[in-house]
């Protein structure tokens, strides 16, 4: 009988037995990481039309988030502030800064500044800032340390799995309502017991885990 298989093929089963799991694990791990929003979405940092520094305004100056994003407690959306809000201060401060050219133009003409949206949810997912802010979920939980960001980037994946992690076990992410915008606050450091936590209406926080909780 002719020797169809060369001798090295004897090692093939062993090589496969050892190699295949490794290759498979690498593929799984690669997809796990590179196909997940942790890789595809986190870190998204487009160049905004106005080089507004959250680090300077929210961090160094300590302006409360709600000075600009003032609808966050009453509406589903934390509205981007109108140009008027900028001009409240910049009528008096840095009035001739080149960086503020577009802001002044907008204030003069009434034309919107077209910011680029960073925290994009799919259109079939409905998120309400109102219920989270009044429930005791701080800004930092979803937006990261905005007070450290020169230009804002996406800090968290905003994926469904990530949302559900918190919805299934919200306690580690709850804080007293007066610390909502405090980016430095920490449950452990503050010695806060989330078991006693209640929302604005004095109710326990029970986030939904079913489809229509977010999909309408």
């Amino acid at each position: 009988v002719a020797n169809i298989f060369p001798k090295w093929t004897n090692k093939l089963p062993t090589a496969l037995a050892v190699g295949a799991p490794i290759v498979l694990s690498v593929v799984v791990a690669a997809i796990w990481y590179w196909f997940s929003p942790w890789y595809t979405d986190v870190g998204y940092q487009p160049v905004q039309p106005v080089p507004y520094s959250h680090k300077f305004h929210a961090g160094d100056l300590g302006i409360d988030c709600r000075y600009c994003h003032n609808t966050v407690e009453d509406a589903d959306f934390a509205a981007i502030p109108p140009t008027d809000t900028c001009m409240n201060c910049h009528k008096h401060v840095a009035t001739d800064s080149a960086k503020l050219e577009l802001v002044r133009e907008s204030a003069d003409t009434g034309k919107s500044i077209e910011w680029i949206k960073i925290h994009q949810l799919p259109d079939y997912a409905y998120f309400s800032h109102k219920v989270h802010i009044n429930g005791g979920v701080g800004c930092v939980s979803c937006h990261g340390r905005v007070d450290h960001m020169e230009e804002v980037y996406l800090a968290k994946p905003l994926s469904m799995g990530w949302c559900l992690d918190c919805h299934r076990n919200p306690q580690p992410h709850l804080r007293p309502l007066d610390q909502i915008t405090n980016m430095d606050w920490d449950q452990e450091k503050a010695g806060y017991d989330p078991a006693t936590h209640v929302n604005r209406a004095g109710l326990a926080v029970l986030p939904p885990e079913h489809c229509s909780g977010c999909h309408r």
Binding site: T40, Y44, P46, T71, D74, A75, D76, F77, A79, I80, P81, P82, T83, D84, S106, A107, T109, G110, K111, S112, I113, E114, W115, I116, K117, Q120, P122, D123, Y124, Y126, S128, K130, V131, N134, G135, N199, R200, A201, L203, P208, H210, C211, S212, G213, H215, R216
Partner: protein, 1029 residues
């Protein structure tokens, strides 16, 4: 088997009874629009390849921009809807509205709620939102040449042309100026128009061109009251209601308020309460007739005679009708009709002060006057009928007069203000020819319509949601109509243009309205500084002195004079014109929501048809869709027939409002223009035509009727095995009030499995093991079939709220309409009956606790929420359609196509941002308006006690919920709420002994339950009805 009801007791069409159609849901899989299997596989391969590219190349979502206000108005919260009160008039019917505005764009129109009730905006009032965003609206002024081709004009040129023409008219003291208007219910507009026939324009004449203008009603009142008057009904106070060719619950008079009052009287079901009884005498099945306890099928020309017979028999019974009345005669009718008239006379006589006769607009004036005479004798004017003077323009002429004047050369300038006489003019007038005899023809309107293309100048006007105005309802309440959005096409309002006609100056609508309504008030009021004005806007009611005084009917000798000397019916077939249930008089023909709304009786969409009775179809060998040519005098029209139970023999019923061929994509293909057959010259009543002929064409026309789509078969003896262990499905449960009182839980007799402990799931588990629902609140719904009229307001509300796609006639024919809520319509009675009774049943998703759809979904796209909703995650759905196949109620809808790509930017503005826009290949269905539930739940968590308050809750701290269908229901038949709360309105309704589940034997445990229909037949006729049943 039920003791009284035969297998064929409930049915949908005659053809069904002929055993031709026994499919539960139309086979949609067979239709693939000409895509062959090979083609399909090829396309699939390509999509797979593309998908690969997509995965590697397009991971990052597209860049989206946020454009905040530069100056945000005070108190405006982006993303939070705001509601404004306004009002709208359709003919003489005024609806007060609450309009939702999302970031400055109105998205949903609802009735102004009052006392826990929705306020009942009908389908048309709600559909107006789509009219606002109609891409086919006229956006630019222009002039039309002889061929109807438009040449655009600039606004300044258009105004110059308009002002120039009017300056000329002023010079001539208005001589030769014709102003063509529609029904005017706005006090400010009315005064402006009256001003146009005075002073410098004193020679000008006003003509009305509006099929909804109640000529006959006003004239009938004028005969006996000495002046034009409106009679409004408080039907809640009536125990006996007898309608004579009046669809007063759906298209005639003040129908929403009538429906509400009627439902109130229907709901008096306790032993010591007087439930109302409705008699209908009519030639074609209207919704009012369909809801009647007794319905007499009488030719339109015999309706007046029937009323005479009623008067005669009342007098013969010794009921003292007012002295000085006319001499009335008795008439001979077929036995069935005679029995109903006798019962009616018996009831009217026995219920003086609590009974009323209602005559429909289609009947000539003398029938109205005779009705008033009977009502006076019945003492109905005390509690039921309210008389008010019409404060309308004192001297308006009718369209035939305009044509006469035009032909006589007495008119050189015609201004059509928001009217379309070239379309609505009856065929005999040959309006287009006459119109062209005027040198200057000016058309002001929303569309470049049939009249505009014949005009020398066309100026587009604003929709009522874009303009300031005011409306006064028939009962004298004035509402300020405030705009929701700036004019999309920078158009002036009709009111502003009317004011401009007088002096050639630009006017501001707000100032005009304030100026008129503030007469006799301080100057600060007119400047808008007064808080009263703001309160008027907020309340949707203006506290202005009503200009409509009471009127009294007393001139009976005039009635004697008006009565016909020889009231004999004409020969040949009778043509019977009526308003269409979907497009009304045609003004909603460009509205896809209305076109696709199935007619409540015929279930036709996208077309009208000549409806005839079964007997007439049989004798003339006509079937559904057969083309016939109707000829009357020198006018002919070829259109298809549709066999409809309840139509009088020798009568062809013709709905108006279709065949608008030049009106674009939506209206262009739909139906046939029946106005072209009508006649109105010489005082002829345009609604009824005598002496017409017809012949069969031999060709057929495809009509899209939804009557067998996704429907359930109520009784199915001939195909055993379709129910579980039974051949019968008691979907509809009906009883007479006497039966109900004797056996309040009669609905249980119909149960297929009488012992509830024996009901098992398909998997065989006993009921107790089923899913436990954890949330403190559990949503449920009841639909009261006793008060549901089938008016379709809920269906349209659902379309508007949930971004439901319209699919067009071709896809309706394929059974692919997307309505989440459908109106099942059953006829009741024996197969050979030409005049059956009717029952309607709105069916949406039942939110089954043991939902059969959920168990078959391979990807868990449809699952249960802890508060009892059958959730649908669109983005998870892969479109296997297993769920729809396993749904016993057939309420799931599949997106066969991308109905939502490339939609016009204007249509995009209407979409509700709180509801996902669905993509091709996705299943969708009713969610109990989960977006409203979620919003209310969030509000309850933030402001309330965590529980959404019941609709009846007194001191609610957070938002209440009404589903869109519930909000729209004029008769308050739909109740939604928490079934865990024993005191909620829905729990109380569910405790009713009339409550039953649809297909309860399947153990799906639906969350929607139905309350059985109760009828209240006259005792003498009840036995007969039973025999029939």
């Amino acid at each position: 088997m039920n003791e009284t009801k035969q297998p064929e007791h409930f049915w949908k069409t005659h053809t069904q009874l002929n055993k031709e159609l026994h499919r539960e849901s139309i086979d949609t899989s067979a239709v693939t629009d000409g895509v062959s299997r090979r083609n399909f596989l090829g396309v699939m391969g390509a999509s797979a390849a593309l998908a690969g590219v997509g995965l590697s190349g397009c991971i990052r979502k597209p860049v989206e921009h946020i454009a905040p206000y530069a100056k945000r108005p005070e108190d405006l919260i982006p993303g939070k809807p705001v509601f404004y009160a306004t009002a709208f008039a359709l003919g003489t019917k005024v609806t007060r509205l609450l309009v939702e505005s999302q970031d400055g764009r109105p998205t949903k129109i609802e009735g102004l709620p009052e006392g826990g009730k929705g306020g009942g905006a009908d389908a048309w009032a709600q559909a107006e939102i789509l009219n606002l965003y109609d891409p086919e609206r006229s956006s630019h002024p222009g002039t039309f040449d002889d061929k109807g081709k438009k040449a655009d004009l600039s606004w300044s040129d258009a105004y110059a042309s308009l002002d120039g023409s009017m300056a000329l008219s002023r010079k001539n003291q208005g001589k030769g100026l014709a102003l063509v208007v529609d029904t005017v219910m706005s006090p400010t507009y009315r005064r402006t128009l009256e001003g146009l026939t005075k002073g410098q324009l004193s020679g000008a004449k006003l003509y009305v061109a509006d099929p909804a203008y109640p000529h006959n009603r006003l004239k009938g009142a004028e005969i006996v009251a000495g002046r034009k008057s409106y009679t409004t009904l408080t039907l809640a106070n009536a125990d006996i209601v007898a309608t004579f060719d009046s669809d007063c619950l759906h298209t005639d008079g003040d129908w929403s308020s009538n429906a509400s009052g009627f439902a109130e009287g229907r709901s008096r079901l306790a032993a010591d309460e007087r439930m109302n009884r409705l008699y209908a005498v009519e030639p074609t099945m209207s919704l009012t007739g369909a809801n009647a306890d007794h319905r007499a099928r009488v030719k339109a020309s015999d309706v007046g005679n029937a009323l005479q017979a009623v008067a005669f028999r009342l007098l013969a019974k010794g009921v003292g009708l007012t002295a000085g009345g006319p001499k009335v005669y008795d008439f001979k009718f077929p036995a069935a009709t005679d029995a109903i008239l006798n019962a009616l006379v018996d009831d009217l006589a026995g219920n003086k002060g609590r009974s009323v006769v209602v005559v429909g607009e289609r009947q000539p004036a003398w029938v109205h006057a005779l009705g008033h005479y009977i009502n006076e004798g019945l003492d109905a004017n005390r509690e039921i009928v309210t008389w008010r003077k019409d404060s309308g323009m004192t001297t308006v002429h009718q369209l035939p007069q305009l044509v006469t004047d035009l032909n006589a050369g007495a008119v050189d300038t015609v201004v059509c203000l928001g009217t379309n006489p070239a379309y609505v003019a009856t065929g005999d007038l040959k309006f287009a020819d006459a119109y062209k005899k005027a040198a200057t023809r000016i058309h002001l309107g929303l569309h470049a319509d049939e009249t505009a293309v014949l005009s020398t100048l066309h100026i587009p006007v604003s929709h009522y949601l874009e303009a300031w105005g005011d409306v006064q309802s028939q009962d004298g309440v004035t509402t300020v109509a405030q705009p929701l959005i700036a004019p999309l096409f920078h158009t002036p309002s009709l009111l502003e243009l009317a004011a401009r006609l007088r002096d050639g100056k630009k006017h501001n609508g707000l100032q005009l309205v304030q100026g008129h309504l503030s007469r006799g008030r301080s100057s600060s009021f007119a400047a808008g500084k007064n808080t009263a004005w703001k309160k008027w806007l907020f309340d949707g009611k203006a506290a202005v002195r009503s200009t409509v005084g009471p009127a009294t009917a007393s001139n009976w000798p005039a009635l004697t004079k008006a009565m016909p000397k020889n009231a004999k019916a004409g020969t040949g077939f009778e043509l019977n014109f009526h308003m269409d249930s979907s497009v009304y008089d045609g003004r909603y023909a460009m509205n896809a929501w209305c076109q696709e709304l199935p007619d409540p009786i015929s279930k036709l969409t996208w077309d009208n048809a000549a409806t005839i009775s079964r007997t007439m179809a049989k004798t003339n060998e006509l079937a559904n869709g057969d083309m016939i040519t109707i000829s009357w005098e020198d006018r002919t029209l070829t259109m298809p027939v549709w066999v409809t139970p309840g139509t009088a023999d020798d009568t062809i019923s013709l709905p108006l409002g279709y065949g608008r061929k030049s009106m674009g994509e939506v209206a262009g293909e739909a139906g046939f223009n029946t106005y072209s057959l009508q006649k109105s010259a010489g005082g002829y009543n345009p609604w009824i035509g005598f002496g017409a002929q017809f012949k069969k064409e031999g060709s057929t026309y495809e009509l899209a009727s939804t009557q067998h789509h996704d429907s359930l078969t109520p009784y199915n003896d001939k195909e055993p095995g379709t129910g579980v262990g039974t051949n019968r499905r008691p979907l509809i449960r009906v009883a007479d009030k006497t039966v109900f009182l004797a056996k309040p839980d009669f609905v249980n007799d119909d149960e297929v499995i009488k012992d509830p402990t024996k009901i098992r799931s398909l998997s065989g588990r006993p009921q107790e093991d089923e899913t436990v629902y954890k949330s403190p609140q559990q949503w449920g719904m009841t639909i009261d079939l006793n008060t549901c009229l089938g008016c379709n307001a809920c269906v349209l509300a659902c379309n508007a709220e949930n971004n439901v796609s319209m699919v067009g006639k071709a896809q309706v024919l394929n059974g692919r309409e997307m309505h989440w809520l459908r109106m099942d319509r059953y006829f009741e009675g024996s197969a050979s009956d030409d005049n059956p009774q009717m029952v309607v049943q709105p069916v949406g998703c039942m939110q089954c606790e043991n939902a059969p759809c959920e168990t078959v979904c391979p990807v868990a796209a449809t699952t249960h929420s802890p508060d009892g909703l059958n959730d649908m995650a669109y983005n998870r759905c892969i479109g296997t359609r297993y769920c729809a196949n396993n749904c016993p109620y057939k309420v799931r809808r599949f997106n066969y196509f991308n109905f939502n790509t490339d939609i016009h930017p204007l249509h995009q503005m209407q979409k509700n941002p709180d509801v996902t826009i669905r993509f091709r290949g996705v299943m969708e269905k009713c969610t109990y308006c989960v977006q409203r539930i979620s919003e209310a739940k969030i509000d309850a968590k933030v402001r309330g006690n965590g529980l959404v308050p019941d609709i009846d809750a007194k001191d609610a701290k957070s938002k209440k919920i009404m589903t869109a269908c519930q909000q729209a229901c004029p008769s308050d038949s739909i109740v939604f709420g928490d079934i865990n709360d024993p005191n909620s309105r829905v729990s109380k309704a569910k405790r009713s002994t009339r409550s039953y589940d649809l297909l309860g034997e399947l153990n799906n445990k639906p969350r929607t339950s139905y309350l059985a229909k109760i009828r209240n037949p006259h005792p003498k006729l009840a036995t007969q009805a039973e025999k029939k049943g």
